[in-house]
């Protein structure tokens, strides 16, 4: 029913225009974000990581996973011209593995964050807009979720998932389970933030005006309220990405994430930590890669926050 009432602009031909408008807004937001130094530096770091994630495997000198008996002889050697960051416990090239590891952590964290933000935004906006008893019940439910520590939630989801899901998924069941975990872990806190943003919009007169036109709640939430809280959503998303990166790496470290021999930064730190005294590069390199990505994301977040705080008049011009 709600779909029927939705403006055809949203459902049919207008979808393109809407997308175009959205991408224009994203570009404008990004250009504002890049006005600050922290935004620029953060963007450069994140872009570098993204570049490696996409093209890295093509450039990497060695295979990240395969090793021969020859390789085993050069295990745990230090940096050299052949192996810029040395080799790990199986004699594999650390640089190649770090570069290849960027891919899984980045896509898992980004998609996980997107899932969490989407769920949180829908729950938060709806609950805040509808209000009353429904709002109370939903928010108490959110409280229950919030009471679970993230890692515990992850253990629960992954253990259950690995046992119960019979089919094979690309690239691995664990990756999707981590995404779901991130989604569930981020939804409650995010829905709180979005709800309060929606509550600030709800009493405004253009929302009342839409009610007087007889618009459905669905239409008002997504067409009238949502565009006004996009800056909040953007800031939330960029903050949460760095949490997601840390959570993914942490799960990898605990062996709950991507399984060996797939290169994964968390897993690599865990595999090589016993050699820390004789071959520190093997554990430090993925750790540094992780750290620089998180710092880059955080710097970019600062820029995004700056962009979101600009008064409407300047943003719209």
């Amino acid at each position: 029913m709600a779909i029927e009432e939705l403006d055809s602009q949203v459902t049919t031909g207008g979808a393109n225009a809407l997308l175009k408008g959205a991408s224009r807004k994203v570009r404008r937001g990004l250009s504002i974000a890049l006005r600050t130094n922290s935004g620029r530096i953060g963007f450069a770091i994140v872009a570098f990581h993204l570049f490696l994630a996409i093209f890295g495997p093509l450039l990497a000198p060695y295979s990240p996973t395969d090793f021969t008996s020859e390789d085993l002889k050069i295990r745990l050697t230090g940096p050299s011209m052949e192996h810029l960051l040395g080799t790990d416990g199986f004699g594999r090239d650390v640089l190649s593995r770090v570069v290849a590891g960027a891919r899984s952590i980045i896509w898992i964290s980004f998609i996980g964050t997107a899932l969490g933000i989407t769920l949180g935004t829908i729950v938060g906006m709806t609950s805040g807009y509808i209000g009353g008893k429904i709002d109370q019940v939903v928010m108490r439910g959110v409280d229950v979720f919030l009471a679970f520590p993230g890692l515990l939630l992850a253990l629960l989801v992954i253990n259950l998932g690995v046992q119960r899901i019979g089919i094979d998924l690309w690239p691995s069941k664990e990756a999707w389970l981590i995404i779901i975990t991130i989604g569930i872990a981020f939804m409650p806190a995010n829905s709180r933030v979005i709800r309060s943003a929606a509550l600030a919009i709800k009493p405004l007169e253009f929302v009342q005006s839409a009610r007087l036109r007889g618009e459905s709640s669905f239409y008002i939430i997504f067409r009238e309220v949502l565009p006004n809280i996009i800056p909040v959503v953007a800031v939330e998303a960029s903050i949460r990405v760095s949490f997601a990166l840390l959570l993914t790496a942490g799960l990898g470290f605990l062996g709950l994430g991507v399984q060996p021999p797939t290169p994964d930064w968390g897993l690599m730190v865990s595999e090589n930590r016993e050699f820390l005294s004789i071959a520190p590069w093997a554990a430090l390199a993925p750790a540094m890669a992780m750290a620089s990505l998180v710092v880059g994301v955080n710097l970019l977040t600062d820029g995004v926050r700056e962009a979101a705080q600009l008064p409407i008049s300047q943003e719209a011009s």
Partner: protein, 696 residues
């Protein structure tokens, strides 16, 4: 007016003051050319529309301008130039010799500190007194601003005081060190009309008592007329006219002043002919535009000639009356078209009113039990509307007036269905109206539209302005996308905006333009009734006049009706055929507008009328003053709703029983809810009346 002490020279002298803000995006010329003088014991009113640089001028005098600002010209205070003074010297002046009173008393006071602590802090900072003297001085100050019970006030927190009392405290703090110059920046703008009247009385009284010079900044000509000795009119950052208050209002010599005066709705003149409201087209020159060699007002001026854009007009002195116009002698009443008689034909009344509300009731809050879940119910619900009746005929306008808290907005929201009613009956063209808007039929929603107070909030800032208009057209008129676009363009033209505005974001429009877009959206479905909740209150007078004329034109053409909610009696007098006076959710008086505004009237109506500022310094008004603010009445309340503030209270009966509904002078259709018999009201209201000025 007050005697000017000839012996002392000028207290403050601004000479060709210009204030320019430099931002990365633009250069803003907030003040372009400002030359004024203030003597001791004199009130200079500074008046103009928003964006004319009034507040910037006030801040410049206080030396409160950010570092990136360029100040040209001089600000001489007792011969010393404030504009180029060091910080420590400025600090010495501020508070001690120059004090400022801001618009919003609530933000001038620290909400987490007791009033006494805040006032004493000021006294200790500036005066060398011991703690006993500080206390005495504080009480003396509270007495001087007529705060009742000055001992106890110091113990209270700002939120425990009404807006008027807060502003008195702020004024007391400003007076703490016997300043020579007081700057008041819109000190009554956020206050109710009744409270405004008492504060203005205080300022007039202080003027004679403290012998300080006062710069009184306001956009409201009626307020200026009441307090000022001399008036300077500011336009686009420069003074365009300056004269004594009587002279300026009677005989304006600059077309802008004449225009401002003709925009204000006022009662019919002695000849009984109701004049049309004129308006100033366009908007104030953008402060980012360089003026060049031209009169800055030329693009809006009906007298503009080629000469006006060829040179900057000099300030001409006409016997002490300064005007920055090349043709001051051509300025006379009528240049703005205001002498046209207003065409006020009414469509013949139809038997079934457009809107009929009967015994409308609304309560806020929930009923509670005495002991958590048990025991008898405690009557705690707040009366928002009690037994309100109203009828709006075809092509008529019902004005609803009252102070804030009187239930006006609740009435509007209940009628359009934004909040459910708790009792009574609502009918649109004889058909029952369901409670919430979602339960009403599409036809009913289309027939009744609402216009809100805040034009900026009534358009979605993230969507182009076509959105609301086109949605209304598609929802109500069932038009296709192309048809609705075409119709939306016509609607925009009808409200005097260019159709190209459709694709712009609301932020590119001024407040007046935004309100016209909101009107276009309301007109879209050809409604029978438009509920306008303070629709012109946030607009400048010239824009307000444009919008009022637009509403009237639309009514004449399409015969729709209005429920027009406002706190401005001048506006309500101008637009209404019938008037409903609300107080604390109760009907005080209801009837045809000439009956309600005439005598006899309910004591509350009488007080409102006497408080309303009239832009004519020679107007005579009774001084009936109401103290405090509208009370919150609970559902168990007995007695007359107005008894707590009524200046004409007759005795115990007012506290113990609800007033009877009496037919007013105009017989049926005119209702006065008061214990005093109508005949008696008629007699006592003929006599001059002035009540005390103390505040409780």
């Amino acid at each position: 007016m007050s005697q000017l002490s000839q012996t002392e020279g000028q207290l403050l002298e601004l000479d060709r003051l210009a204030v320019t803000f430099y931002t990365p995006r633009a250069t803003v010329r907030a003040v372009r050319d400002l030359s004024i003088e203030i003597r001791r014991g004199e009130v200079l009113g500074l008046v103009g529309e928003s964006g004319c640089g009034k507040s910037t001028a006030a801040f410049a005098i206080m030396g409160y301008l950010p570092g990136t600002t360029r100040v040209d010209g001089s600000i001489l205070f007792e011969g010393r130039d404030i504009a180029h003074m060091g910080d420590s010297d400025l600090r010495e002046l501020r508070g001690n010799r120059i004090a400022m009173v801001y618009q919003d008393p609530a933000t001038s006071l620290n909400p987490s500190m007791r009033i006494g602590t805040q006032v004493q802090e000021v006294l200790r900072e500036h005066l060398d007194l011991d703690s006993k003297q500080v206390r005495e001085r504080m009480i003396e100050l509270f007495e001087s601003v007529r705060l009742a019970d000055p001992e106890a006030i110091g113990q209270r927190y700002p939120h425990q005081l009404s807006g008027g009392m807060q502003q008195r405290v702020v004024i007391a703090m400003a007076l703490a060190c016997d300043p020579l110059l007081l700057i008041m920046d819109e000190p009554t703008t956020g206050l109710d009309v009744t409270t405004e009247a008492t504060i203005l009385d205080l300022i007039v009284e202080l003027k004679d008592r403290v012998n300080a010079g006062i710069l009184f900044v306001s956009h409201n000509l009626g307020v200026i007329a009441r307090v000022a000795d001399r008036v300077a009119v500011m336009y686009a950052g420069e003074i365009v006219e300056q004269a004594t208050v009587g002279e300026l209002f009677k005989n304006p010599r600059h077309p802008y002043t004449a225009g401002l005066l003709s925009c204000v709705p006022r009662p019919p003149g002695d000849d009984g002919i109701e004049r049309k409201l004129s308006s100033i087209p366009g908007s104030v020159l953008d402060a980012q535009i360089e003026g060049g060699e031209s009169c800055l007002f030329a693009d809006r001026c009906p007298l503009a000639q080629d000469a006006c854009t060829a040179q900057v007009p000099p300030m001409t002195d006409l016997d002490g009356h300064l005007s920055k116009c090349l043709f001051p002698d051509d300025v006379h009443s009528g240049i703005w078209g205001e002498s046209q008689e207003r065409n006020k034909e009414l469509i013949p009344e139809e038997p079934i009113p457009v809107l009929n509300a009967h015994s409308l009731r609304k309560f806020y809050g929930r009923e509670r039990k005495k002991y958590l879940f048990f025991g008898p119910p405690v009557q705690q619900r707040v009366r928002a509307l009690i037994d309100v009746d109203m009828k709006v005929g075809t092509g008529r306008t019902l004005g609803v007036v009252g102070e804030s808290g009187s239930g006006k907005s609740t009435a509007a929201k209940t009628i359009v269905g934004l909040v459910p009613k708790d009792g009574g009956k609502l009918e649109l063209r004889g058909q029952n109206l369901a409670d919430g808007v979602q339960h009403r039929s599409k036809e009913q929603r289309a027939a009744m539209r609402m216009v809100f107070q805040n034009p900026t909030a009534s358009l979605n800032p993230k969507l182009p302005i076509r959105h609301s208009i086109i949605r209304a057209l598609r929802k109500f008129a069932g038009l296709s996308r192309d048809e609705s676009r075409e119709r939306a363009e016509q609607l925009l033209e009808a409200v005097g905006l260019d159709p190209s505005y459709l694709d712009r974001p609301p932020s590119e429009l001024s407040g007046g333009q935004q309100q016209r877009v909101a009107l276009a959206g309301a007109f879209a479905a050809s409604p029978d009734l438009i509920v306008a909740d303070e629709a012109v209150s946030s607009l400048d007078v010239s824009v307000q006049a444009q919008v009022l004329n637009l509403l009237e034109e639309h009514q004449r053409e399409s015969g729709n009706s209005y429920v027009f909610i406002t706190h401005d009696l001048g506006v309500v007098r101008y637009v209404s055929d019938d008037i409903l006076v609300l107080y604390a959710g109760h009907v005080a008086e209801y009837g045809p507008s000439e009956a309600v505004l005439g005598s006899p009237s309910h004591p509350y109506t009488e007080a409102l009328l006497s408080a309303a500022p009239i832009p004519d310094p020679e107007a005579t008004q009774n001084q009936i003053r109401l103290e405090g603010s509208v009370p919150t009445l609970h559902s168990a309340f007995k007695g007359c709703f107005f008894a707590g503030r009524c200046p004409r209270k007759i005795g115990d009966i007012c506290d113990t029983s609800a007033p009877p509904e009496q037919a007013g002078s105009h017989g049926e259709g005119h209702i006065i809810n008061c214990h005093i018999p109508v005949e008696e009201l008629a007699i006592i209201q003929q006599q001059p009346f002035q009540n005390g000025v103390s505040v409780t």
